[in-house]
Each structure stands twice: as structure tokens, then as C-alpha cells.
Symmetry: C2
Subunit: 151 residues, 2 copies
DNA sequence: TCAAGCTTGATGCAATTGCATCTATCCGCT
DNA sequence: AGCGGATAGATGCAATTGCATCAAGCTTGA
């Protein structure tokens, strides 16, 4: 069983992807810290819960959406709850489960994070690539996703 | 002072970039773990040191190359040294510093990691995009880098 | 019905990361 | 020479993450 070797083009693209994504995240996290706001992971969850509306979400539904391990979700939700940003409700038809819902304070926090996060995205992506290039980039990345997105 | 808002195209591209990069890393880390190999970060350092040759590198030179904080480099090098993959040499003209050099065992480990890492890159990038698309992707990502790379 | 196995979510413990600070050395200046 | 500040690297402590496992509730099939 012989191992595959990547093409030089694949290696270059990979290296850039790794470096760029880490740089973008780091700058954004720095901006959040500088504003006294919580890390990006909090935003992801608050965003999903805000989109989900009053019905909320089950923790296991968050696992794939925010790409965290089960214990990661469990602990992140505990932190959010401790900060009053989400609330956990028992769910009637499954005694094991719970439904997690964003609170008004959580919505507010989401907005405040977005003010910084959105600006960071604009700075780091919007200002550097044209709308057309951004679409091309998104499309190429979509084909790397699992499952791939063709647009 | 009004905060900038990102364009929808920028947000989509950002979201894809975040998700894809995390997915790719996670799959690769899983593959390494499955082979009983150390994490990606070890490869990065071993790779830089291998490229640097016999002269080795100073720890502070690794900071920018592998995008780790100073204490991150310090501790990662300690782990690598504890595993006999690198060696630290005092440097003559600066009593504070040290030179870090990869050992034969380190080179070997690098090769073994690459067997898995390279296959993962081939699987996840090479097999999904054409050489032309990979070049386009690398070029677009290069413009997001700091400092940007125009090719 | 009820045991075996699966799913949901939490948690003890170890490893890693982040932050702040420390030590040691070096450099520039007076 | 010697003081003040900068630089190289390490480290104590707290927070986070990863791994393994647990408890509780559900579901299936004999």
C-alpha cells in the first residue's frame, strides 16, 4: 500500500491556506481581546442560536455546525450559561436532552462581538479582494469542504 | 468612529475559509493520531529546521515562521528536545541565545510525519482541485497574507 | 418485559495554551 | 565602568482542550 504524494501546487495552496487562516483568526481574536470581548467560539454558538430562533437548538445539533467535539460544546455552553448568554431548557420528549436558547443578553453580546468581528472581516478580506475574487475564492473553498459545495 | 461592515461576499468567503481550514486540519490531525504520530505543529518546526540545515535556527526565528507565540516555541522545542528530535546548542556570540538543530532522529520523524501529512494534502486538496484551480486558490490566498504575496 | 446496546450530555484527569512575569545577557550612552 | 532599557528565552499559574469514561435515558428485539 503506497502512500500518495501531493502535487507542488497542492502543497503551496495548502501552506497558504494554513498560514492565512491562522493569521486571520489571530488578528480577529486580538481585536476581540482588545475590546474586552469573548473569543470567536462564543460568537459562533450565539450566531447559530440566534438563527435558530425561539425554538433553540439541542447541543448535539451544534457539534457539526461549530465544528467542536461533544465535550467542547458541553463546556462552552456551560460557560455561556454561566454568563447569562444562553439558557438551557429541559426537552419534553427526551429526558436526556435539553434545548439551548439564546437570551436577550446573549443577542446583545452577539451584536457587540459582530461589530468587531465584522470589521475584522472587512479589513482582512473585503478590502483586499474584489467581490468577484471573493466569489471565486468561496467557490474554490466550497469544493474542499466536506461535503463539497458546488454553488 | 464608525465600524466597517463586510460585504456579503466577504462574509461567505470568510465563513468557508474558517470552516474548510478547520476541517482540513482536523482530518489531518486525526490521520496523524491514527498512525501514532505527533501533531502538525511538530512537523512545522522539524520542517523549518530541516530546511535551515546544519546551522540550525534561533528560537526567535521560528516564531514568525510557525506562527507561534514565544512561549509556544519555547515549550514546543522543549518537548522536541525531550524526544531527541532536536538539540540545543549554545551560541558563541550571544550568551542569552541558543541554536536549535534537528537531529537524525528528528529528520526521520519528519519523514514519517510527511508520509501521512502529504497523503492527507493529496487527498484533501490535490484530488479535489485541478492544478490550475490550486494556483488560483494560492494566488487569492496570497493576497490575504500579511504581508501579501502577489506571485 | 427487560437486557443489551445506543444516544445525549457531563466530567475527572492529563496535556496544552495563554498571560504575565522572571532571569540573564546584551547594547547604547554618559 | 556602569546605569537604563531592550532582547532572548523560560516558567508559574490559570484557563482551555483532549481523552476516556460515566450516568441517565431511550430503543430494539427476543
Amino acid at each position: 500500500m503506497t502512500k500518495k504524494s501531493p502535487s507542488p501546487e497542492a502543497v503551496t495552496a495548502w501552506a497558504r491556506l494554513m498560514r492565512v487562516s491562522r493569521q486571520l483568526v489571530e488578528k480577529t481574536e486580538d481585536a476581540l481581546k482588545a475590546s474586552g470581548l469573548p473569543p470567536l467560539g462564543w460568537y459562533d454558538v450565539l450566531h447559530e442560536l440566534a438563527e435558530a430562533g425561539e425554538g433553540g437548538l439541542r447541543p448535539f445539533e451544534l457539534i457539526d455546525r461549530v465544528l467542536l467535539a461533544q465535550y467542547g460544546v458541553s463546556r462552552l455552553l456551560a460557560r455561556l450559561e454561566a454568563n447569562g448568554l444562553v439558557e438551557k431548557l429541559p426537552v419534553s420528549d427526551d429526558g436526556r436532552g435539553q434545548t439551548v436558547r439564546i437570551t436577550p443578553s446573549g443577542r446583545d453580546m452577539r451584536r457587540r462581538i459582530w461589530a468587531v468581528y465584522g470589521a475584522s472581516i472587512a479589513d482582512q478580506m473585503g478590502d483586499r479582494l474584489s467581490a468577484q475574487d471573493l466569489k471565486t475564492l468561496a467557490s474554490l473553498l466550497g469544493r474542499l469542504r466536506d461535503p463539497p459545495i458546488s454553488d
